[in-house]
Symmetry: C2
Amino acid sequence: MATGRTHRPATRSRGIPEATVARLPLYLRALTALSERSVPTVSSEELAAAAGVNSAKLRKDFSYLGSYGTRGVGYDVEYLVYQISRELGLTQDWPVVIVGIGNLGAALANYGGFASRGFRVAALIDADPAMAGKPVAGIAVQHTDELESIITGNGVSIGVIATPAGAAQQVCDRLVAAGVTSILNFAPTVLSVPEGVDVRKVDLSIELQILAFHEQRKAGEGERVALPIEGGDLEPSPGGSRGTEGERVALPIEGGAQAGPMARAGQDTGAAAGGRQQGPDGDVPAVMPA
Amino acid sequence: MATGRTHRPATRSRGIPEATVARLPLYLRALTALSERSVPTVSSEELAAAAGVNSAKLRKDFSYLGSYGTRGVGYDVEYLVYQISRELGLTQDWPVVIVGIGNLGAALANYGGFASRGFRVAALIDADPAMAGKPVAGIAVQHTDELESIITGNGVSIGVIATPAGAAQQVCDRLVAAGVTSILNFAPTVLSVPEGVDVRKVDLSIELQILAFHEQRKAGEGERVALPIEGGDLEPSPGGSRGTEGERVALPIEGGAQAGPMARAGQDTGAAAGGRQQGPDGDVPAVMPA
DNA sequence: CCATCTTTGTGCACGCGTTCACAAAGACAT
DNA sequence: ATGTCTTTGTGAACGCGTGCACAAAGATGG
């Protein structure tokens, strides 16, 4: 999901499949709710329903952690909460910095779910000098100049990027150089990072577009009359069916530009943070900061 | 991968794999950037690098849409932008409502990337009467009472839920009843919806927890000395290693409560919106609204 | 102590997604 | 027109994730 799935297929860490890891927080949430209700034990069937997954899948997931259930009874809620928390690394404190305190950054800073999961907002960082010193969610915003010292000083290893897309790669590079090895990226850009750094992506625009795809499909099925859309049958001649642009042919422009400006598009692995142009949109995260 | 992945495995719509659909917006973004730079054509290799994927994967993805490339040359940027936009349904207008105008909801309302992708914020809805009439991002917030009339009046089929978790299912039910068939959910809850309704989930907390897992793993590999963590070897006796709770045994509580309060945990498919209790966290979306 | 009943843990098969590797297609030069 | 060179489109193999179905484990009752 949210999308976001720009995660290195990675090293099947400790034998626990990535898909299972992604579901553990789901189980943890359901278990926490049960715990607060003082429910002592829960069966795989019940817990699976609460987490919205298949019970067999849940049992298989738990089997990667060890044999923590009791046949004929189920799982001990408290014990499982602890085991999953430990497996996810939530029993320790994770200082986090948020870079880019715009609409979204501020909203994230106000998120109450950090502390209880072991995450602590160590600092808020923004490039706007006017923001420096202003308190957001009870924390004074600091200027980008202090990024490195903040990271090293607090031993931060997780960074959240909520800047415009144009600044994201640059911020990312600085975070990584300062020692951050896990990044949650809200900017609509593909971040390139060195080996060993994890990046997860959250992108509202992408999620909506995926929904639109399915929505269109649903609509097109009910009334396949008035809509000449529904293409895709290997018919590459759209002609002027759409009004946006006049003529569309497969090869209107031939010739040059094979490796000229093109080469840059593909190979901006690290140093391309310089010349990004401003698009009308897509250049800011799901939520326009500042 | 942020997210959110609570998406029905679904019907392999029109032969286009779900995984491919999820990548189309990525390609579209890269292509749009090239288009703005007036780049006429692009090879699969270059475009793949820009989108952060494998070139073979990209070619296979495009092959599901049809044969839009030219061997020896590459793909025509403008034409491909159009084809993908059409496939995703972005050539038409999608009115969207945002329910829950807190920190996050407001941030989403300010998002500039809506319009250019064919999404239009038709209305902002909040349950707080004090919010009604207040302009957010240039749009007056409307009260929840008007939810149904707004949906039907504007022909809205996509809804965004940014309410606290406690209200999410209820809001979801009302949206669906009013005609919404695609939902983007920011509340940390598993939404249950009838067949035919798509739900995508975005959850900051989950993303951070997944990062923490990998982060812990990295840390545990470098110095497997001072950390007695690194467990998982089928050793289910944690003892008192953690301070939160005293003793942890696999089966501290036996006996009753097999189907009493437990049954409710699993079976709250629709009408359970009533009795949710307030947890310390996790009860609000990634960003605490209001 | 034995029988029964519940629920876990998992072997197995299936399907999707990814990747490799290459033949076919077309551009371009001569 | 022919040859060379580039790049697409895809057949095929592989690996991961999912779900079924069932044997084993343990609780519970007599």
